[in-house]
């Protein structure tokens, strides 16, 4: 499981939360006529999780906040933070933990999600997460240079997010 954590690290770099004041650009043009169905493309660099799948709703954990996307949602670009993506289709609901990436909702009711790593919650080992979290916290406390401190902070954010996801799932 430590391999999982290590491949998360560079991915998590992209999920770094921006702490500046939020400026939201709103859609000034309405999109085309509704088509009724939400089509989801969910791709990772090494695996295509879902391709052109018709779903009902997708819940995302974005940097700007959590949001749920339904068919013909306003086109939007969201940076994903480490968290759970909940995909609700007619065939059932699937939850994936993603390390980070982007979700782009297009005017033609196509939702594109590019993430670096995504795993089903049941595939994650809680104990490994706890030990890695402790390791990162120790590193953050003892690190001498800025870069290691930053990297450790990203890891801590990631592991805490995994723990939250796993604990909410358990309930």
């Amino acid at each position: 499981m430590s391999f999982l954590a290590r491949t998360f690290k560079p991915a998590a770099a992209f999920a770094r939360v921006s702490r500046q004041a939020a400026t939201r650009l709103y859609a000034s043009e309405a999109s085309a006529a509704s088509s009724g169905k939400l089509v989801l493309n969910f791709a990772l660099p090494h695996q295509i999780v879902l391709s052109s799948k018709e779903v009902n709703q997708v819940d995302l954990s974005a940097v700007s906040g959590d949001l749920g996307i339904l068919a013909d949602h306003v086109p939007t670009i969201e940076q994903l933070k480490p968290g759970v993506i909940d995909i609700i289709a007619d065939s059932g609901a699937e939850k994936y933990f993603v390390s980070g990436g982007f979700a782009i909702m297009n005017p033609n009711s196509v939702l594109n999600i590019n993430a670096i790593e995504a795993f089903k919650l049941e595939d994650i080992d809680a104990q490994a997460v706890a030990s890695q979290l402790a390791e990162s916290q120790r590193l953050a406390a003892s690190a001498k240079d800025e870069l290691t401190k930053e990297a450790a902070a990203i890891e801590i954010e990631l592991y805490e997010a995994i723990q939250t996801a796993l604990s909410t799932k358990a309930h």
Binding site: A22, T23, E29, I104
Partner: protein, 292 residues
């Protein structure tokens, strides 16, 4: 009598044909050595072909995924109709690798880059892979910014891609608007095409006609752009790798076939030479015997 003259004529014939046709023991040894070395070479190229074949199947599978990943990522760019600004400065990123013996893969990339640099001699260039680096550095050393190696022996993973992407993006001393990724597209198992992927700056995305329909937080635009660049780079790296493996397989297959042809030709030569030697010996014995 008649037989002797016939034999006499025959032994005269090889002596008349001077260029490389003198059959004696020393030449036979040379041919034998050549045969041995070429047989070894053909064994090596045959095994390299086998290795390349297995790598091709795996690389193709990864390429299919990377293509979809790249298309999903650039879907937004197409839908928003992001265009290139007039007079935009380009940074050329050449996606090649460190290993050779793959026919025209690296030279095709260098040719393409050199043609572009002939029109835009000021453009900065970043090169991934030693083979293209040595070819481009000869003429355009002043354009080189970064070069990366240790790429190409395995299927590129995203952490390699993001490492390369961060180095290129975080160097603020290089001036560029767009990034042009030059890579080899896998056309088929025996053909590849040198193609480009264009990566736009965040300013161009904001200018795009379709962008007005999107709701977005301004701060993440730069992150989005870096992410899109990394995704495109990943696509280029994985597809370039697949194209290279396929080219290597074809090159080794041709090499093995050519080696086989040479072996056949040399074997014939060797046998003919051996027979000539034996014939000459026979002539000597017979003439010697008939003189008694």
């Amino acid at each position: 009598m008649f037989a002797r003259s016939a034999i006499a004529t025959r032994s005269a014939a090889p002596a008349l044909n001077v260029i490389g046709q003198t059959r004696n023991m020393a030449t036979l040894k040379e041919i034998q050595n050549r045969l041995k070395s070429i047989t070894n070479i053909s064994k090596i190229t045959a095994s390299m072909k086998m290795i390349a074949s297995t790598k091709v199947t795996r690389a193709q599978r990864a390429m299919k995924i990377a293509r979809i990943y790249g298309n999903v990522s650039s879907d937004f760019i197409e839908q928003a109709e992001v265009k290139k600004a007039d007079g935009a400065k380009e940074l050329v990123v050449v996606v090649s690798s460190d290993k050779g013996l793959c026919s025209g893969i690296h030279s095709s990339l260098s040719r393409h880059t050199r043609k572009y640099l002939a029109d835009y001699p000021e453009a900065p260039v970043a090169i991934i892979g030693d083979k293209a680096k040595s070819q481009i550095q000869r003429l355009f050393a002043q354009n080189m910014t970064y070069s990366f190696n240790q790429i190409g022996s395995t299927i590129p993973a995203f952490d390699e891609t993001s490492a390369i992407a961060s180095v290129i993006i975080s160097d603020k001393s290089i001036e560029f608007d767009n990034i042009k990724l030059v890579y080899n597209k896998f056309a088929s198992a025996i053909a590849f095409e040198t193609t480009e992927i264009e990566c736009f700056p965040a300013s161009q995305i904001v200018e795009a006609p379709g962008f007005k329909s999107y709701e977005v937080q301004e701060e993440i635009l730069e992150n989005l752009n870096e992410f899109l660049f990394a995704n495109n780079l990943h696509w280029a790296l994985v597809e370039g790798h697949a194209a290279e493996m396929a080219a290597k397989r074809t090159a080794m297959e041709n090499a093995t076939k050519n080696a086989g042809d040479i072996i056949q030709r040399l074997t014939l030569q060797y046998n003919r030479g051996r027979q000539t030697v034996i014939t000459n010996e026979l002539i000597e014995i017979i003439t010697g015997a008939s003189a008694l």
